[in-house]
Symmetry: C2
Subunit: 426 residues, 2 copies
């Protein structure tokens, strides 16, 4: 029995009852003979309440102080969780990110982990304790100031600690039963995935699946830490994310599924730069302007130019929340680039089909487009990677498109699985 | 213009409006040319809410984790206060007790400060910042765990930082205008005291005055740091606690007032050990039993024994909350000591008259008892120090007793001062 890192999200520790339930689950793992390290998020809506308070006292909350504020949330949940475990008769100690040795860069509100030195955690475990660690936070290597890791930060804390402590598995407890072949709120017959490879999970995560964020999956892949995504409510086995399918028989006769799942995302908008002179360097100037405004973009598509005009259109997608900033940035360089006009459209949706098996199955792309066509869904943009096909459609067509593709690839389960599927936030 | 330490209690920063009001006050001090260090408590009822949560998850919250939990409260208030100051265009940085160099022993929930190493605070000030420090908390020298300082902890943090940084004054902002000659809720004509010596303030604090705790006054006296107790709401000058009256003319013609004030306390109970054999060592055995149970007692009175029986009665007062524990402790040693019975009475009150001037004024004691007699108040116990007389009466007589004594010593102001007088908690 080795070391296990367990991570519990805010919805799992939303109130005293939740904390006590999680404490029992942790003690079960300890009783089973594991060394247990627990990473915990802030309780329920604590973080939102703190953000609201910050907005009341300051129009633009500053980075360093904002991080100091937000980290109070995990401080509360981790101390309560340690107390709850102690009242079950087991030893537990809680540690802030700084005490746990989570060393980051100095970028407040979205710091990156640059080292993990879990000496105090190791000592606590050696003394027989369950170690409880605040997720989402660390300490800057240079300034010694408290930092937060941004979205998905607690999952990343858990995976980083699992890597530093050489854990046998990192269990991410959430309010759903695992990773599904599609969002069960949209596709009633979505199936829970028992195992998925890191790279498929990465594509699903970056295509709109919210159970795990790509950042944490990337970290796990780099250090080869298996992630087990499971429900803190049901206790059932969830989804294993790893390099090798643990259910695969010796010899590897069982092939990997062609398709892992269908993801969708309606949080993006589409910008089209119309009438761009089709000559070298124009696209670069557009995306330099976007990059200078610190906007992350997703899909980029450029059509062949009309021979008659020598002009082309360049489209890209980006988070709706960044839309105005992108338009402003492009307006400022309009003279220099000499494009004709800008179009902004935030009524779009993106559907992505992910699966490493599609590499060797040339029919996948055809089946995908046939399914969309049969469902009467019009395609506005197409973008592919080696193991993913994504299309942009009207937002109102997204649900029908996801259902059609899910059925077309034989992903539907025999029965409707009744699950609640929610984002985990951080 | 030197360095000023300002401390704001929970009622001063109870909500976003309070935090913004306090931020403006802090910026005023900075604009006036001071270096400013601010110590802040948790917002309003935050601490009580955290304690309530802890009680829900654990019947006996443990020391280390309880401290980790409670320190989240100051983390929130200090970060919000720093943000509010920044939004007024001034630089501010917040620091936990640990970051500020508040080093304590390892006694969780009531740690004592053993050193203050404010290197980071000094650097922040040198860089032009206002430094905001979490009150009530520190870090254990040996275990590196987070500790809390117990009751009055934020005031003590402020005074300790003022001493370590060689501040010219430590301003304690609260919800009252200063220290009064009596509790204004009881005595309408109570007067604000402009200046009071450390030792008189110590006696008032240990006699029931709740504005400052004796612990913080002791610290200030040891390092000769003047304390200025004042209202965060009115901004008026409050009460200076120091060695020398700053209003005293050169040469010292102005004499110190004979009496500083009248304090009262109805939070104590009285235990009487009846029929104790009057021989050496009996009292010691009683108080060893009490000390072993870690109970702090206040007044102790023993009457001369009746010659006929050779038995005496020993009475002492202690916090009501410790009553049951004391009775249990004494029950266990009854056989050994051979006393007759125990009496427990929690319907008592204590009235104390404090003033260094009473040393040289022999009439003070007489006037004190005459005033009580005229008010029809019966005296049950008497205890005196060089600058204090305390009596125990029935609890229901306390208000009349305080008013009578206040008038008898000419402390009544000409007008009723309208103030709200509340405890500051921590």
């Amino acid at each position: 029995m080795g070391l296990v890192v367990q991570k519990y999200g805010g919805s799992s520790v939303a109130d005293a009852e939740g904390i006590k339930r999680v404490a029992r689950r942790i003690v079960d793992a300890k009783k089973a003979g594991h060394e247990v390290v627990v990473v915990v998020s802030a309780m329920g809506d604590t973080t939102d309440e703190l953000i609201e308070l910050a907005e009341k006292v300051s129009p633009l909350p500053a980075g360093r102080e904002f991080d100091m504020l937000l980290t109070a949330g995990e401080r509360i949940s981790m101390a309560l969780l340690a107390m709850a475990i102690k009242s079950l008769g087991h030893e537990a100690q809680s540690f802030t990110g700084s005490q746990a040795g989570v060393i980051t860069d100095s970028v407040h509100n979205k710091a990156r982990i640059i080292d993990v030195t879990p000496g105090r955690i190791r000592t606590a475990l050696d003394e027989g304790n369950i170690a409880i660690v605040a997720g989402f936070q660390g300490v800057s290597q240079t300034s010694k100031d408290i930092t937060t890791l941004g979205r998905g930060g607690s999952d990343t804390t858990a995976v980083a600690l699992a890597a530093a402590l050489k854990a046998e598995v990192c269990e991410i407890y959430t309010d759903v039963d695992g990773v599904f072949t599609a969002d069960p709120r949209v596709v009633k017959k979505a199936r829970k995935i028992d195992w998925i490879a890191y790279e498929d999970m990465l594509e699903l995560a970056s295509s709109g699946s919210k159970v795990l964020l790509d950042r944490c999956v990337e970290y796990a892949r780099r250090y080869n830490i298996p992630i087990h995504v499971r429900s803190s409510f049901s206790g059932l086995p969830g989804t294993i994310v790893s390099n090798d399918n643990p259910n695969q028989p010796e010899g590897g006769e069982m092939e990997q599924a062609i398709i892992s799942g269908v993801a969708h995302d309606t949080s993006e908008a589409k910008v089209t730069v119309v009438g761009v002179p089709d000559k070298p360097g124009e696209a670069a100037r557009i995306f330099r302007a976007i990059a200078d405004a610190e906007i992350n973009i997703d899909m980029v598509v450029q059509n062949v130019s009309a021979a008659s005009t020598g002009l082309t259109d360049i489209s890209f997608t980006l988070p709706k929340t960044e839309g105005q900033k992108a338009i402003d940035a492009l307006d400022r360089v309009r003279e220099g680039i000499g494009y004709e006009s800008l179009r902004y459209d935030d009524a779009i949706g993106k559907i992505s089909l992910v699966g490493a098996g599609m590499r060797s199955n040339p029919g996948v792309t055809a089946t995908f487009f046939e399914a969309l066509s049969a469902a009467g869904v019009n395609i506005e943009l197409i973008s592919t990677s080696e193991i993913r096909i994504s299309v942009v459609t009207r937002a109102e067509d997204v649900n029908a498109a996801v259902q059609a593709v899910h059925s077309a690839f034989g992903l539907d389960s025999e029965t409707d699985e009744a699950v609640v599927y929610g984002g985990t936030g951080r």
